[in-house]
């Protein structure tokens, strides 16, 4: 059996909630190490603390690596540094847009000290992934998954999801 590189194999695993993206493109796959005797240690970081897909990601990585001939696989969770949407790769952003999900802008850079309250959502230029119009409005900062906000396009009137910056 030909054993492909463990990293290459791990990089083919997709996200269960955003299946058009690999875990590598999402920035969730942090490290793949092959140790003595072909033992593979994969480090992943959760997008959100409560992300229910973590178990599925773990199972999928484990299964894919075993299929590829790695018999000893360990999946580790890393909590620091916390995941940021800035880690979504350029190809990940392109695939999100192609799937009708607006990719995130740059994550907010917070100064130290108290986090400021935002009573009015800051105006943000998010282009409609369906028609390209910049005339879109925020409907809700929470959507079908923790990582997305819901917006609506005023040009084509369609609702769409936007990966919110964290």
């Amino acid at each position: 059996m030909v054993i492909s590189g463990a990293r290459e194999v791990a990089e083919t695993v997709t996200d269960p909630e955003l299946p058009m993206l690999t875990l590598a493109e999402l920035g969730v796959l942090r490290e793949v190490e092959v140790g003595q005797g072909g033992r593979v240690v994969v480090s992943i970081t959760p997008t959100y603390t409560g992300c229910p897909a973590m178990d599925t990601m773990r199972d999928d990585l484990d299964a894919r690596l075993r299929e590829a001939g790695y018999s000893e696989v360990e999946i580790r969770v890393v909590l620091t540094p916390a995941w940021s949407t800035d880690w979504i790769t350029p190809s990940g952003r392109r695939k999100l847009a192609e799937a009708g999900i607006a990719p995130p802008g740059p994550a907010p850079r917070r100064a130290s000290g108290p986090v400021p309250l935002t009573l009015v959502p800051p105006a943000q230029l998010v282009r409609c992934p369906l028609c390209g119009s910049p005339d879109t409005v925020l409907q809700s900062e929470f959507s079908a998954t923790a990582c997305k906000a819901l917006r609506r396009c005023r040009s084509c009137a369609e609702p769409f999801e936007h990966v919110k910056e964290i």
Partner: protein, 287 residues
């Protein structure tokens, strides 16, 4: 083809996804050594306090599922509850590693008695109405955000990491609640009155947030330090909402003991009965 959506998501894994027990340890692979100079039992006690706050608050938020005023809010509240459940899982798992018992999240959540829960009483009382729930979420998120932000520098790297992630999440929760408080407070005569009533009903539970337990100042953050930031944020929201700061007196303690000591309100028993019923009816089952 799959018989149900969960099987499709997990493929050859087991057919559970966002529910159930017996999940993989959320701290699997994380170095959970207790730092030198830190008392593991105290660290565990502290993690239970913060974990129980998140778990019980999450439970009350989940009760809005299928009952929220608008679909968008249904989704928002469920997401906030899920974030807090995630924080609770990590904190309870951290407690089990820190005290050396290796107890898992399920054991803490499902098999402790009421007196062993260390959450503040604010999170356990029933939802009453939407205004009460938004007032409570505003109070809770404002307090917790101030707390987590200070815990980012905790001597325990696991707690510091949980806090750093939590700050990003709870900042969204606070904005969400604050916007609803303003919308209702600065709305119609009726919505204003109901929002004021909700805030007034929440207020007796506020004092306890800042008195705390000696363990908190020894191992984490002295909650008294959070009061100034809390007051400033509340003032900003209430001004925009045209609401009055309530003067309702703080809920009495029992000989100085309250939620952090395992002394809870009557409603806590009913909440736990629901939260724990399946786990207690089928001990050690995985579903």
């Amino acid at each position: 083809m799959f018989d149900n959506a969960y099987e499709a998501l997990t493929e050859e894994g087991d057919a559970r996804w966002a529910f159930g027990t017996g999940f993989a340890d959320p701290l699997s692979g994380v170095d959970t050594t207790v730092p030198s100079g830190v008392d593991g039992a105290e660290l565990a006690a502290y993690c239970l306090m913060l974990g129980d706050d998140a778990l019980i608050m999450s439970h009350r938020l989940q009760e809005w599922c299928t009952r929220a005023p608008e679909l968008e809010d249904e989704v928002a509240i469920a997401n906030i509850g899920l974030d807090l459940l995630g924080q609770a899982r990590l904190l309870l798992a951290r407690a089990g590693k820190a005290d050396g018992t290796d107890r898992g999240e399920d054991e803490f959540a499902f098999l402790r008695t009421e007196q062993a829960f260390r959450n503040v009483r604010l999170v356990e009382v029933g939802n009453a109405d939407f205004a009460f729930s938004m007032a409570r979420l505003l109070v809770f998120a404002t307090w917790r955000l101030a707390l987590l932000q200070r815990l980012v520098d905790s001597v325990d790297p696991v707690l510091a990491a949980i806090a750093a992630k939590g700050v990003k999440e709870v900042a969204y929760h606070r904005d969400y609640a604050a916007r609803w408080v303003v919308r209702l407070g600065d709305g119609t005569e009726l919505s204003h009155q109901r929002m004021q009533n909700g805030l007034t009903a929440v207020w007796p539970y506020v004092g306890e947030l800042f008195t705390g337990h000696p363990v908190e100042s020894r191992i984490g953050v002295d909650p008294a330090e959070l009061r100034a930031e809390f007051d400033a944020v509340l003032a900003q929201v209430l001004t925009a909402a045209t609401l009055q700061l309530p003067e309702t007196p703080a809920l009495a303690t029992v000989l100085g003991r309250s939620g952090r000591d395992g002394v809870h309100t009557e409603e806590m028993g009913y909440l736990l009965a629901e939260l724990q019923s399946v786990a207690r009816a089928h001990p050690d089952a995985t579903w």
